[in-house]
Amino acid sequence: MKSLDSLRIRIVSFFRPEDLRAEMEEELRSHIAHRADDLERSGLPRSEAERRARIEFGAREKYKEEIHQAAGGNFIGTVFQDLRYSLRVLRKSPGFTFAAVLTLALAIGANAVVFSVMNAFVIRPLDVPHADSLYALQHGNEASGYESYADYVDLRDRNRTFESLLAYNATQLGLDDGRDPSSVWVLEASGNYFDTLGLKPSLGRFFHAADEHGPNSAPYIVLTYDYWHTHFQDDPGVVGRVVRLNKHPFTILGVGPRGYNGTLLFFNPEIFIPIVEHPLIGGEDLNTRSAHWVFELMGHLKPGVTPALAIADLNSIGAQLEKAYPKDERKMTFILARPNLYGDYLGRPVMAFMAALMLLAGLILLAACANLGSLFAARAADRSREVALRLALGSSRKRILRGLFTEAMLISLAGGGLGLAGSVVLLRALTAWKPFPRWPIHIGVNPDANVYAVAVLLALVSGLLFGAVPVRQVLRTNPYEVVKAGSNSRAGRRFTVGDVLLVVQIAICAVLVTSSMVAVRGLARGLHADFGFDIKNILLAETDLGMAGYSEDRVPAMQKRMVEALAALPGVESVGFANGLPMGDDGASSDVFTDNTTDLSPSNAMINATEYSVSPEYFRAAGTTLLAGRAFTWQDDKDAPRVGVVNAEFARKFFGAKSEGAAIGRFYKMKDGTRIQVVGIAEDGKYGSVTEDPRAAMFLPILQSPSRSTQLVVRSTRDPQLLGAAMRGALHELDAGLPVLIESREGPMGVMLFGPRMATISLGVLGLMGAMLSVTGIFGLAAYSVSKRLRELGIRIALGAQRKEVLQAALGRPLKLLALGSGAGLILGILAGRVLAHIVYEATPRDPVVLAGVVVAMMLLGLVATWLPAQRALSVNPLILLREE
C-alpha cells in the first residue's frame, strides 16, 4: 500500500516542480543548520560552523538532481528540457527542419494513403454481423461466381453446410416515381437475402423468403439508406408508396440499414428487389438452366463447418447437377471466397496491386529514413565540437543521445502529423469520387483508427531509425581529441555507412523513376493505339427501351426512329447503334463452331469470339473499317438469312483465311445451332483491354439478334456539349419516359482503362516522390561535403585551383554516388518493368526514350541537388575563410 504522501510527492513533482524544489531546498537548509548547530556547540564560531556544515554536506547540486530523480519528477522534467532544447536547435536550422519534415510528411502520407486503401479493401471485414463466417461461392476453374437461378435453387435446398444460401444479381432499371424517370442500379436479391445477412431495416420492413411465390410474385422494393436520403429526402412516408420499375408497379416496403450498400465493396446499388421479379423486368426465365445470369451466391457456414467440408458438399451437388443436366451445365466445382471483392476476380489483382504499392511506399519511407539518417549523421558530425564540449562539461552520453532522439522524434511526429493530415484530405476526396458516371462505383477508403495507429507507428519507428544513425558517432566521440584537434580531423576516403545508405536510396528512387516513366510512356502510347474504332468526334447515347416499358415487338421500330431522329440533327454525319461497344464494360462472348459440327457442347467449340449486335450504319459511325465484303442493311432482319461480319483475326483463326476476302460467303455455327454466313470482314481492334492479344470478334445484325439496351453511336464534328444537349432533346421528344445517358466514346472505356490509369498515377506519384527524395539526399550530402571541406577548398582556390578542379573536389563524391545509385536503380527498374508490361499497354523498359529519360532525369536531379552547394563552393573567399578559421 502506498501512502498518500507518496501520491502527493508524485503529483507535486509532476504538476508543480517548483514546489518540490522549494520543499527540498528548505529541507536541505534545515539539515545544514542542524549540523551547524552541533558544530557550534563543539566550539566553532557560527560562520565557520556553517561553512563546515556545507562542505560536509557534499555536492549539493548533484544531490538535488538525484533527489529529483528519486522523487520521480525528473523524467518528465528532463523530457521537457530536452524538448525545449530540441525545438531551439531545430529553429536555428529552419531549412534542415523544413526539408526533413516535408520528406517525412510525403513518405508517411504515401504510406498512410496506401495503407488505408489496403485497409478498406483487404483488411476491414464486411459491415454485416458475423462477417467471418460469410463466404461467397466461386467456380473452381475460374474466378467468377455466375450461376443459373435453377442451379441456385438446387444448391440452396440441397446443401447441408450453409445456414442458408442467398443469391443476387445486379442490373439497371428505369424508375418512375411520378417525377423525372431515372435509371437506378438494382440488386435483385433472393427472398432470404436480408435474413441470411442478418440485417435490420431502418424503416418499414424487408422482403423475406415467404414473400416469394414463383416468378413475378413479389413486386416489392427496399431502398438503400443512401438512395432514400438523396432521392426521397428521408421521407418516412415512402413506405407503402407504389413506383414503376420499367413501367411495372412495385411497392416500397422499407429502407435498408444506414451505411449498408451491398456486399461488394466497390459497387453501391440503390434499391433491392426480389430476384423472382427477374423475368418481369425483361430478364431470363427462372427455369432456364443454361442461362448463368445470377451474379453471386453466398451464405454463412453452419457452426463447426469448415470451408473444406462446405466445398466438398457443394462439389457433390455440382456433380449430381452435371450428371442430371449434361447439356446445360459446365464443370460445376466450387471454392469459397470472401465476398468483398467478388472473390478472386477483383480480390486477387487488387491484393497484388496493393501489395506492390505497399512495398513501394515502404521503400519510399525507407529511403526517406536513410536520407534523414545521413542528414542527421552529418549534423551530428557538424556538432561534434558541441557534443565534445558538453561531454567535457560532464553531460552524460545518454543525455546527449536523448537530445538527438528527441529531435528525431519531433521531426518524425511533425512529419507524420502533416503526412496524415494530407492523406486524410486525399482519402476523403477519393471516397467522394465517382470514377465512372455510368456505374455506381465508390471507393470507400475513409481512414479509421487502424490508419491513424499505423501512421503514428510509422512516424515513431522512422524517428527511431534515422535517429539511431548518429548514435555510434556520439558514443565514439572523444571530447579531448575533438577539442584539441578541431572537428574535421579525418578526410574519409573509404565509403561510410552514410554513403551506402545514399547509394541504396538513389537506387530505390531510380527504380521508382524508371517504373513510373515506363508506365506513363506505356499509357501515352496506349491512348494512341489503334483500337479498331475512332475515339474522336463520337458521342454516345445509352438507352434501355426496357426501362420505358417497350415490348420486344415494338423495339426495332423505336430504335429505327431514334436513329432517324439523331441523324436529322444538324452536323451529324452518321448514326449507328449496338448492344455493346468494343472496350466497353458490357462485352459478351460466345463459342463458335465449324459448320459441320453437330455436337455443340463447349468442348467442341472451334474458338471463342467477342460478340456484338450492331445496326447497319454502325461500322461507318464507329469508324471501324471493313476490309472486305459488305456491312449490314435494314433488310438483314428476322426474315432474311442469318449473316455476320467477323474481324480479320476471326477469319484467320477460324477459317484459316490467308487473304482478306477469303472467308466471305463461308458459314459458321453458333451455340444454338444457327448457321451464320460471313458477309464482311472488319479490321481487328481492341475489345476487352488495351493490353490484350488479338481477339476474334463477330458482329451480328441487331435486327436478327435484337437487344433493348443499346448504345447509339453518333459521328459528328460538332461541339460535344451542344450536340449532347441536342441529342438528349431529340430522344426526349420521341419518348419523355426514356432515361438517356450521353457520354463521350471514352466514357465506357474508363472502366477498362481504370486499372492501368490508377497504376500509372500511383507510379507517377511515387516516382515523383522518389525524385524529390534523391534531390534532398544528394543535396544533403553535397552541402555537407562542401561545408566540411570549405577550408580545404579555400586553400585550393588560394593556390590557384580552377573552377572545374574546385567543383571536382567538392562534388566529385556525391556525383559518383549518384551515378552508382542511378546505374543500379536503372537495372533494377528495367527488371521491374517486365512486371509492368502486364498492366500497362506496351510498357517496355527497353524503350530508348525511357532509358534516355531516366538518365536525363537523374542527371537533372543531380544538377538541381548540387546547384546550391556548388555555388557555395565556388564563392569561397579564401582570404576571409583562412582569416576566420
Partner: protein, 113 residues
Amino acid sequence: MTDQAQLLPGTLDLLILRAVSLGPLHGYGILLRIGQISDNALLIEQGALYPGLFRLVRQGLLKASWGTSDNNRRAKFYELTTAGKKRLREETASWNRLASAIAAALAQQPEEA
C-alpha cells in the same frame, strides 16, 4: 576516519528504515541515529541521504511531515508506514541470511592448505 567502511549499494535504504523504526526523525537526526547504532563505523556523505529519503517516500515506505526540532528549527520528520515496517522486517531477514552465508563461506578453511 579511515577505518570507516563504504556502504554496499542498496544498504543505505535499509539503514534509513532501521533508524526511523525507532521513532520519527528528521534527516540530520537519521544520520546521527545511523552513526549511533553503527558505532560510526559507516561512511555516509550527508547529502547522499536525501535521494534515499525521497525514494522511500515515493515507494510509500516512509511518510513525512513538517514539524519543529529539538533545536527549535523547522524540519521534515520521517516515520515508517505499515508497508515500511513490513519491508524492514523482510530486508532485515534477508540481509541476515546473506551476511551469515557470506560469513560462513569466508570462515571455511581451505582443505588443501
